[in-house]
Amino acid sequence: MSQGKIIKVSGPLVVADGLSDANMADVVRVGEQRLIGEILNMTGDRASIQVYEETSGLGPGAAVETTGAPLSVELGPGIIENIYDGIQRPLEEIVRMTGPNLQRGVEVPALSREKKWAYTPVAKMGDRVIGGDILGTVPETEVVLHKIMVPNGVSGVVEWAIEAGDYIVDEVVAKVKTDKGETLPLTMVQKWPVRVGRPYKKKHNPVAPLQSGQRIIDTMFPIAKGGTAAVPGPFGSGKTVVQHQLAKWSDVDIVVYVGCGERGNEMTDVLREFPELVDPRTGESLMKRTVLIANTSDMPVAAREASVYTGITIAEYFRDMGYAVAVIADSTSRWAEALREMSGRLEEMPGEEGYPAYLASRLAQFYERAGVVQCMGSEERTGSLTAVGAVSPPGGDLSEPVSQGTMRIVKVFWSLDASLAYRRHFPAINWLNSYSLYLDTMKPWFDEHFGPAFMLNRNKAMSILQEENELNEIVQLVGKDSLSANDQLTLETAKMVREDFLQQNAFMDVDSYSSHDRQMRLLALILDYDKLAREALAKGAALQPMFEIPAKEKIGRAKFVEADQYQAAYAEIASEMEQEIAAIVEKAGADV
């Protein structure tokens, strides 16, 4: 391998010459400590390198060596339940090696080379296999069956397959005689460059919803499995809680959570809390399906740039096994800032607000790696990759480049609102500014699985909220009393939708997750109240007594009913409500 020498150091950017053999985007080792870097630019034999570790102490003359390969991740059993830094170094392993603070130049394999996995072969001797076919399986955790796939680009006949048993990841588990006549030994590990999307046979339109147990998301602005969503919001509006809730309760098989330039304690929170939470679908701990990528804000900025790619490549790998995967990135703004910092040091011509001109295309490339795909391999498998990114606009101003670049691509937009957060309306997703473009494509699915009432009720609730917004403008001018009884009822119903339905307390056990059936019943209850009260008004009943019926207060507390009793409880509220309103109507009739 060719060896170069440093000629310039400026923060995370190092320029070295004598690297004529190196390729663009190669990973290089810099200096005595063998810091990891990546080539960004080549001019003659001179390379500009972004170094993924602190460069303090590096100076001209130090050696630079190319590894001849681009930045890649190791894919194989051992990824789940792990916490990695931005370039896939296992952080817990590093704690054991170097203590609680991150030292430089640490070399650790991403996957444990000691742990043995229970491997069961699937492909048999003599089978013809192509890239994506399954060689064997490993139960990686109680809920994830890791499928060891033939690496992409390999095709041939299985010459030899190992027997079922416990092996380390480097053990050769099969030998494939390729079409060219070579014999390829295959292990449980494959490598893939992070900046290249993993191939698939065909992409499909996302049609099925991802259910998150969050009422405002599932009912109002649903996201499809394989879709893309952005969560923008100023600080303190609850972005991270929304992202954590999605990571906790989404009905997907694998969650990859990328903490990109965010707080260290938030990653710790996930790390300590998830193992104790129980997945309502599998009954196992949530950590058993989660991968964490943590490149917190105090960790080197260049590795932050790589972390979202590391995350999405791991997600694609599990998608290729035919799983539904969600990758959640918090926050893409920090990733963009890392891009900006490197671009500035490279002295590139800046675009808007100092961000490089290629910001929007990089964002688009990232989100476009999501989707529902037909996986590689001869077997028919469909996998999906859902991408959700937080955006942290400076000052909450959505006109800045990262928000704008994101909004052009994503199909679902959950706009967080500081004024809602101040009122402690959580999740502080603004119902008027948010949108989901999947409503039309998912309507057939909803109609088939939940019945047509679901979409009707959803649209009804939305129109009540919209109407409230218009009525509020009038109230601001002339006061509530000047409104007609019907309009006052609309305001009251809208308040119930907001407070009793949309508000959801992530920190209360019974309210943190709401099943779809429960969401539908709760919304139906509120809309029934509106319908009954409106009918009563038409029959001459007074408005105020209807605001004071006990059943209405019970609706307000309906979300706190324990998960195993809600059906009965809601039915009871419904019948009480009918009786109480009927009594008011009767009284009105008697008074006349």
Binding site: V9, G264, V478
Partner: protein, 458 residues
């Protein structure tokens, strides 16, 4: 013998270019010796071939290009640490200025520290009682948290910080407590106020002070908070102490950073601040926290004055994205004579949920907190409506909310600088105020809690 260079080619503002250097590395510390024998310190910002760009920590006045000598010391800027630092006063570069003896260093630590491995962090969840209702009840502080105070010029942030430092305690726990205080570009009077406060309460013996006053060199401010945090890390993680770090004022720090960035002719981000302001602030703020298997902790209260009280200004904005919440002071409340003038609604503690509840404060804490927030927000809305349309336009419930908002400010927020309320008192006061509202409005509290805690009508 260390090599000395007389090849300073350029001095402009805080930056110098030195030529024909050899073996110089990035981030290395250097010393310049002036013809009169005085020595100033600087660090390497960039090396390019045989040229080094060096940033001075002190003023560049008096540097002579021909006769000044520069020595590169081969290590980054370090702080000499020892347990004897407690009770001492240092300047912004870590040298004692209280007339006492030199510190006998136990070791020298790089002031940039090393990032904490997120897998080695312990989640902060130990309730700290500050005795201030708006913090304890609504924006609870926990050990290892970084909770800034967003203030404005002329607001009593120093008093609030001093009150917290004075009253803070962990319920039912022993306390091996220390305060590290960094004055970054503040006036003598403000720094003196803190010193006197620490003296008055006797905390001065457990305090380490780093002072860079307004008339000290601005570039020195870049290292002052890092000096303080290095001392704090040493006390917390090597001496097992619970350290409260107060940094004031971060706005001055960011301005010093901007000065250096402008001198380097970097592409500016918003309002002329460098694009890496977020990362730079994060490398300081993230040094707060707890580590697994370490008894010590660093709790950080940075103070910043928001230019024009504008929360969207880059300094408060980026700080808010890194820290675990913020306490915002309000000019309106201060004018009304409410002390401390904490603007309750936009203030937030992100770690509160882990620090409250059964076994930490009380079971009703979480839900009353939410209810108080929501009721105060509705009350303020009702009051706004009342100013436009008059009292007659409000429904009876809205009137109650308006009354609640007034009482809440008067009794809950306002408590003065000396009152130290314990958490039970704060929670009971909350219930007392909630009594103003009809029971049916208390939707955020479970029925059984209401039955148990809501004061009965006489």
């Amino acid at each position: 013998m260390m090599k000395e260079y007389r090849t300073i080619y350029e001095v402009s503002g805080p930056l110098m270019v030195v030529e024909e250097v050899e073996g110089v590395t990035y981030d290395e510390l250097a010393e310049i010796e002036l013809p009169d024998g005085s020595v100033r310190r600087c660090k390497v910002l960039e090396v390019n071939g045989d040229k080094a760009v060096v940033q001075l920590f002190e003023s560049s006045a008096g540097i002579n290009l021909k006769d000044s000598k520069i020595r590169f010391l081969g290590h980054p800027l370090q702080l000499a640490v020892s347990g004897d630092m407690l009770g001492r006063v240092f300047n912004g570069m870590g040298q004692p200025i209280d007339g006492g003896p030199e510190i006998l260093p136990e070791k020298y630590l790089d002031i940039n520290g090393l990032p904490m491995n997120p897998a080695a962090r312990d989640y902060p969840n130990e309730f700290i009682q500050t005795g201030v209702s708006t913090i304890d009840g609504l924006n609870t502080l926990v050990r290892g948290q970084k909770l800034p105070i967003f203030s404005g010029s002329g607001l009593p942030h120093a008093q609030l910080a001093a009150q917290i430092a004075r009253q803070a305690k962990v319920l039912g726990g022993e306390s091996n407590f220390a305060v590290v205080f960094a004055a970054i570009g503040i006036t003598f009077e403000e720094a003196e106020y803190f010193v006197n406060e620490f003296k008055r309460t006797g905390a001065i013996d457990r305090t380490v002070l780093f002072t860079n006053l307004a008339n000290d060199p601005a570039v020195e401010r870049i290292s002052t908070p890092r000096m303080a945090l290095t001392a704090a890390e040493y006390l917390a993680f090597e001496k097992d102490m619970h350290v409260l770090v107060i940094l004031t004022d971060i706005t001055n720090y960011a301005e010093a950073l901007r000065e250096v960035s402008a001198a380097r002719k970097e592409v500016p981000g918003r309002r002329g601040y460098p694009g890496y302001l977020y990362t730079d602030l994060a490398t300081m703020y993230e040094r707060a926290g707890r580590k697994l298997n370490h008894p010590g902790s660093i709790t950080m209260i940075p103070i910043l004055t928001m230019p024009e009280d504008d929360k969207t200004h880059p300094i408060p904005d980026l700080t808010g994205y890194i820290t675990e919440g913020q306490i915002i002071l309000s000019r309106d409340l201060y004018r009304k004579g409410i002390l401390p003038p904490v603007d309750v609604l936009p203030s937030l503690s992100r770690l509160k949920d882990k620090g409250i509840g059964v076994g930490k404060t009380r079971e009703d804490h979480a839900s009353t907190m939410n209810q108080l927030f929501a009721a105060y927000a509705s009350g303020k809305e009702a009051k706004e409506l009342m100013t436009i349309l008059g009292e007659a336009a409000l429904s009876p419930t809205d009137l109650l909310y308006a009354k609640f908002a007034d009482e809440f400010e008067k009794r809950y927020v306002s408590q003065g600088q000396e009152e130290n309320r314990d958490i039970e008192e704060t929670l009971d006061l909350g219930w007392e105020l909630l009594k103003i509202l009809p029971r049916s409005e208390l939707k955020r509290i479970k029925q059984d809690m209401i039955d148990k805690y809501l004061p009965q009508e006489e």
